[in-house]
Amino acid sequence: MAKISRWGLASAAAFALAGALAIAPVSQASAKTFKWANAGDVSSMDPYYRNETFLLAFLENIYEPLVRRDQKLGLEAALAVKWGQSSPTVWFFDLRQGVKFHDGTPFTADDVVFSLNRANSGGSNMKAYFASVKEIRKAGDFRVEVETKYPDPLLASKWAAILIMSKAWAEKNNAQVASDATKNEENFATRNAMGTGAFVLRERKAGEKTILVKNPNWWDKPTHNLTEVIFTPVANAATRVAALKAGDIDMMYEVPPQDTDNLKRDANINVIEGPETRVVYLGFDQERDELLESNIKGKNPFKDKRVREAFYRSIDVEAIKRTVMRGQSFPTALMVAPGINGYVKELDKRPTLLKPEEAKKLLADAGYPQGFEVGFDCPNDRYVNDEKICQAVVGMLARIGIKVNLLAQTRSKYFTKILRKSDFKPGETSFYMLGWSPAATYDVHNVFEALIQTPSAASKKGQFNVSGYSNKAVDELADKMEAETDVAKRNAMILEATKLYTQDYAYIPLHQQAVVWAARKNVSLHQPADNRFPLRFVTLK
């Protein structure tokens, strides 16, 4: 008996202690800390480091654009209150007055001119958004004017992707020039940030955690109720799921398809899902005369359309959807998703799959009866199940005699390897996977301009055309559609250009992935179709 009562006493004491510990955080009034996790980290705190949705979406909490996207993805005033074209080739932006940066310095037209020029020079990865721009000038303390080389009706929406930094801060810390991701450069802005947004960067430990706190002096009325946000990269999917179930994190971004059912069964967790505007696709180097990573020397097999066709028509996207993606993908034949202006439904039909011997015959006709060997670059923490999709592709191509050497690596290394250099020289890849969402303009022209037009440092087109695909007819149509305002004429151009690139087998579009997020029941948030995660729409109960 004595023994039992002693245990009873001990456990009572333990309970009391646990109770005291449990009460402690509650007493801290209304401190709302929101913890969330993703497979990979934000590559940099510099908003021009990489034109990547996750990076831009994360930094939008700290920095703000002139014009931002609302919950329905429409444009709304942010740092600019009024904008428009004063003549076909001149845009004006009237800026919001009384806005302060996080360090208290006032926001003026100087910051805007400085930021736009910074985004258009040095190692910036955002130059594609400045293809039409001739001159950016200050026209008063709170007015900026932009002269374009030709009428560019999309300029304001393009610049929803350009975040505005503090000029004084950048100059003081010697970060006037954007660091070059393709050279692994760093400067003060890589690990620090000074914007006007709803959250202030408190702590940044690359690869470990990033802490944001509420900006008490934000110009807008906060729709969130957070005081602190902790972001942690957790590479392993199972660990991420376990952390969410245990309540160690409040939200996980991009749930792997194999875990959605399991999470849906958990009474404490909400699974939020919807289709995404991103197209995940494969591309091949069609630019070099000899592939970097292949056993074929002296010529480039991908310059032959038959080789591209054999690849394209041997990849079974339905099988990928069924197994790797567990039904959570939408196979496609186009480089744009439904919901984007310029999506051509009648052309969204993939050609039938070839039997291995038919594909081998195509390869033999092209002069590769024995097949060949090629390197294949893939991220392993960027898109949903990216590495697994690539492994599946390796198997599918092995059956037609192509030996694919897969190199799957973390996003920062992967992007640095494959993307074009800041001078538009080609990256180091022969065959690669990439995803693209025209998240700035929601218009197909962005896809033509960034992915399909011939890359050129002079015209700033084709910055993300990693493959170097080049078709003069497509180039001309894309240039014309940029300035065309007559909808019917423009749609005809889009149809024509879409036909051209799909018939060329320029790329192998795979699918749009479903966006699947999961959060604890006490979190309410908003999920836009471009997979951005704005913290300003998060509330914690």
Binding site: A238, P256, E293, Q391, G395, Q409
Partner: protein, 305 residues
């Protein structure tokens, strides 16, 4: 005749008797033999070559094992790429055993060589070798293996690394494991070198290296063999750990550890077989080898007879 004689001698020896007297040891030996044979015969008894991507069909992915709604063509189910797990385990065990044996072989050669020299020559050379060993003993073996592997990865390209991954992992675990051999051998050598037979060999003018390898070495091999057996299990586990952490063998040629890592991602989603079967195989193999090692240590220890 000589062969039969040596069989008779072996059958009559203390070791054989102690083996026959311990059912646990016999069971361990049977399990080891079974796994080694299965791994050795993998190309004959596997249903597919899991290392050849052309054999994998995505539509076969995630098949459950037999008796859990699966079919005969995938007796232990299949993984996320449609790889037959039974075949993958056979080939994976083969890889794990190869790595384990290679590690034991190389670390033994390195450890015996350095231990002999240190113990027999003594002096400054002894001090240097043993201080290196001491420093290395302060790190866990896995950390050293991680370090070596990390440095190699930094130096060569990822693609080259995949081709030579097996050699890198053997080298890094071997370099982590030599210390035990070296210390044991050195200790025994220091005892042996003052014995009469060594002095006699010296008196007749035999060269140092010949005395070391022909006369001293055979007399210190007993404890070395025990360490080798126990280290085989440890080496296999270390390789599996490294592969599980993603720094060992790539998923294109999965060892048991790599298979467990692949399966780990699906544990939450109900596909338990991808990680459980390789895990059980690994546990059975290492347990059996360790039991054999324990028995050998006891059998060779005269005080325990």
């Amino acid at each position: 005749m000589a062969l039969i004689d040596s069989f008779r001698r072996a059958a009559d020896s203390d070791i054989w008797h102690s083996f026959r007297a311990s059912p646990m040891t016999m069971a361990a030996a049977a399990v080891t033999l079974f796994i080694v044979l299965a791994a050795f015969l993998a190309p004959l008894i596997a249903l597919q070559n899991p290392f050849d991507p052309a054999n994998l069909n995505l539509s076969d992915a995630m098949r459950p094992p037999m008796f859990f709604g699966g079919e005969w063509s995938f007796p232990m189910g299949s993984d996320d790429q449609g790889r037959d797990l039974y075949s993958a385990i056979l080939y994976g065990t083969r890889l794990s055993l190869e790595v384990g044996l290679a590690v034991v072989f190389f670390s033994m050669i390195l450890g015996i060589g350095l231990g002999l020299v240190a113990g027999y020559v003594g002096g400054t050379l002894d001090a240097i070798i043993m201080r290196i060993a001491d420093v290395q003993l302060t790190f866990p073996a896995i950390l050293i293996a991680l370090l070596i592997d990390g440095v190699v990865r930094g130096v060569i390209s990822v693609k080259r690394h995949e081709e030579i991954a097996v050699f890198v992992i053997v080298a890094s675990i071997s370099l982590a494991f030599w210390v035990q051999y070296a210390r044991t051998v050195r200790g025994s050598v220091m005892v042996e070198r003052n014995k009469e037979y060594v002095q006699a060999a010296r008196v007749i003018g035999l060269p140092r290296w010949l005395i070391m390898f022909r006369h001293v070495l055979p007399n210190v091999m007993g404890p070395v063999l025990v360490i080798a057996t126990i280290n085989l299990g440890l080496a296999i586990i270390t390789e599996a750990t490294l592969s599980f952490l993603g720094v060992g063998l790539p998923s294109t040629q999965p060892s048991l550890g790599t298979l467990i890592r692949i399966g780990n991602e699906y544990l939450n989603s109900g596909e338990w077989w991808i990680t459980i079967f390789p895990g059980l195989t690994l546990a059975a193999l290492v347990l059996a080898v360790n039991l054999l090692g324990d028995w050998l240590r006891d059998a060779l220890n005269p005080k325990l007879r």
